[in-house]
Amino acid sequence: MKIQGKLIQEEAEQKHGLKLTAERAEELAQEVDRLNTATAEAAKSIDLNDDPTVFTATLRKLRR
């Protein structure tokens, strides 16, 4: 389900104590929805043991 500006506006106020205009909230919603959807889709391939802290070790392992 697409993230709506109203949700962003309420989240900003309730979680962060910030007031956003409806227009600004709608702009934010578009970008957040794009990133959220893409990350959620990519996350389907995540395994229980995928550990973000091994990134630099991975780079060292991949050197020629």
């Binding site: 962060h16 990350t39 991975t58 060292r60 020629r64």
Partner: protein, 495 residues
């Protein structure tokens, strides 16, 4: 006239001209370094010549945040005295440089291109500046940067616009705007900057110089302004690849204060070996729409590939994994981390930021923590898969650094906040993926558009393969002259 030379052959066997003081403006970092080491010129002479050029060009280009003429000349005098006393610290001894205004120096202001931190004074010196200082380089003053490294044009509400030296109506790129401009205009012999999504490569391409973003973890980030911890790297700018390699060597290496550098391989450049790229396989993702350059750029990019073929490289077409997905994962990490860094200030004193900057720094509040961590959890796996898939068959990937010609300020800023994400994507789509994957990348000048603005290509290699990038770049520059082109000192003068 003082003789600077004659020179030995350069490492890539191009005989250098017999340089004289009047040629300092066209001298490279290595030219000047050798001249100082041979006693043909003093650091004070070279520093003074740079300051004179800066004095002439700063009003037109606005590439320095501030100029430390007095301190630089005092440091140059110390460097000369040290040399006279028998100490030569290495190839940076007495060479004038300047760096993006984001590296801490104990007791000195680092402004980050911001109003908020215009008086920010760190209590310790960054690792990269400590290394550059230990090498004996002279620092001419902090360079212009976009506010907190946000933005890609060089337009600046507080500091004024930094301008492209090839045409001051045009942008130099960002966020290392002053770095690209100052190196291209021959005001300094090299610079240290940062790269979170392309800042060591985009201004390099737009200004016609070399920029290198090293592998994540090769260079310590301790003591530099954070933009997004997981994506930030510190890299180098120079007139040519050889100089850039020398600077990278100076700043690379393990640092106990930056865990990302733990176990990082030793990095050293053999400048005296001719670059051997025979048989090197260069992959070109021709079918990837993201890398389709506009017609004004394509002939220069094609010609660059022809040079690599002439050098004995094998140029092959390759398919690429989904870069839009990598771009989105990178964006998720960038927005979440940048918002976390700026949360308090954007909440308490938003009026202290430029409107467009605070706009971008607010976005991450609405990225769920779960998505942020998923984007990070995917990173090792995606990187491993990408390296295996792409670098299993080629040694380096060739792309444009940016697919569009250098924009003028009006065009570059002519978008609504709603259009901003797409504009940012279009600007950084060729570069940002290397940050998420942690790969080393380099932008090299390869020609000019019909309206005399620079074009650059990008080479990206597997982790810690900076030596290959340097070899390819040096070999390319042994056959081309684009890196020797210097912008006019006044607008309207033919390039």
């Amino acid at each position: 006239m003082n003789e600077l030379g004659p020179w030995l052959e350069s490492p890539n066997n191009i005989p250098r001209p017999n340089a004289v003081i009047d040629d300092l403006v066209d001298a490279t970092l290595i030219d000047v370094s050798e001249a100082i080491r041979r006693g043909g010129v003093s650091s004070v002479d070279v520093t003074r010549a740079c300051l004179e050029r800066i004095d002439r060009q700063q009003p037109r280009l606005n590439c320095f945040a501030s100029i430390n003429a007095e301190g630089a000349l005092a440091a140059a005098e110390r460097a000369d005295q040290e040399f006279a006393d028998g100490t030569w610290r290495g190839p940076l001894h007495g060479v004038p440089l300047a760096h993006k205004d984001m590296f801490y120096r104990a007791g000195e202001v680092s402004g980050f291109g911001s109003k908020i931190c215009k008086d920010y004074m760190a209590d310790e010196t960054s690792q990269v500046m400590a290394r550059i200082d230990a090498g004996g380089a002279i620092d001419l003053g902090p360079l212009h940067m976009t506010e907190f490294a946000v933005g890609h044009t060089g337009a600046h509400e507080h500091l004024g616009y930094c301008r492209n030296p090839w045409n001051t109506d045009h942008i130099p790129g960002g966020s290392s705007s002053g770095t690209g401009t100052a190196v291209a205009a021959r005001l300094i012999y090299g610079s240290i900057a940062s790269d979170t999504g392309g800042s060591c490569r985009l201004p390099a391409s737009m200004c016609g110089v070399v920029g290198i973003k090293p592998t994540y973890g090769l260079v310590s980030r301790h003591g530099g302004m954070p933009r997004a911890w997981s994506l930030d790297v510190f890299g180098v700018y120079a007139q040519n690849v050889e100089d850039a390699g020398l600077l990278l060597e100076a700043i690379a290496g393990e640092d106990e204060r930056d865990p990302a550098t733990f176990g990082t391989p030793e990095f050293a450049v053999d400048r005296h070996a001719a670059p051997d790229v025979l048989g090197c396989r260069i992959g070109v993702p021709t079918r990837e729409a993201i890398f389709q350059a506009e017609p004004a750029l394509q002939p220069a990019l094609d010609a660059a590939l022809d040079e690599f073929r002439a050098l004995g490289c094998e140029v092959v077409e390759i398919d690429f994994p989904d870069l839009r997905q990598i771009g989105a994962l990178s964006g998720t990490v960038l927005l979440a981390e940048a918002t976390a860094i700026h949360d308090e200030w954007t909440r308490e004193i938003p009026e202290q930021y430029a409107e467009a900057v605070v706009w971008r720094l607010q976005q991450g509040r609405h990225i769920p923590a779960t998505r942020y961590l998923q984007a990070l959890r995917l990173r090792p796996k995606i990187t491993e898969s990408f390296v295996s898939e792409v670098y299993g068959s080629v040694d380096a990937v060739f792309t444009p650094t940016i697919t569009m010609p250098v924009l003028d300020f009006d065009s570059a800023q002519n978008f609504t906040s709603e259009q901003a994400p797409e504009v940012i994507f279009e600007t950084t789509k060729c570069t940002v993926w290397a940050n998420y994957l942690g790969l080393p990348a380099m932008s090299v000048p390869c020609g000019f558009t019909p309206d005399a603005l620079p074009i650059g290509f990008q080479l990206v290699a597997r982790p810690f393969d900076e030596s290959l990038l340097l070899n390819l770049g040096r070999a390319y520059q042994s056959r081309t002259e684009w890196h020797r082109c210097r912008p006019p000192e006044t607008d309207g003068e033919p390039a």
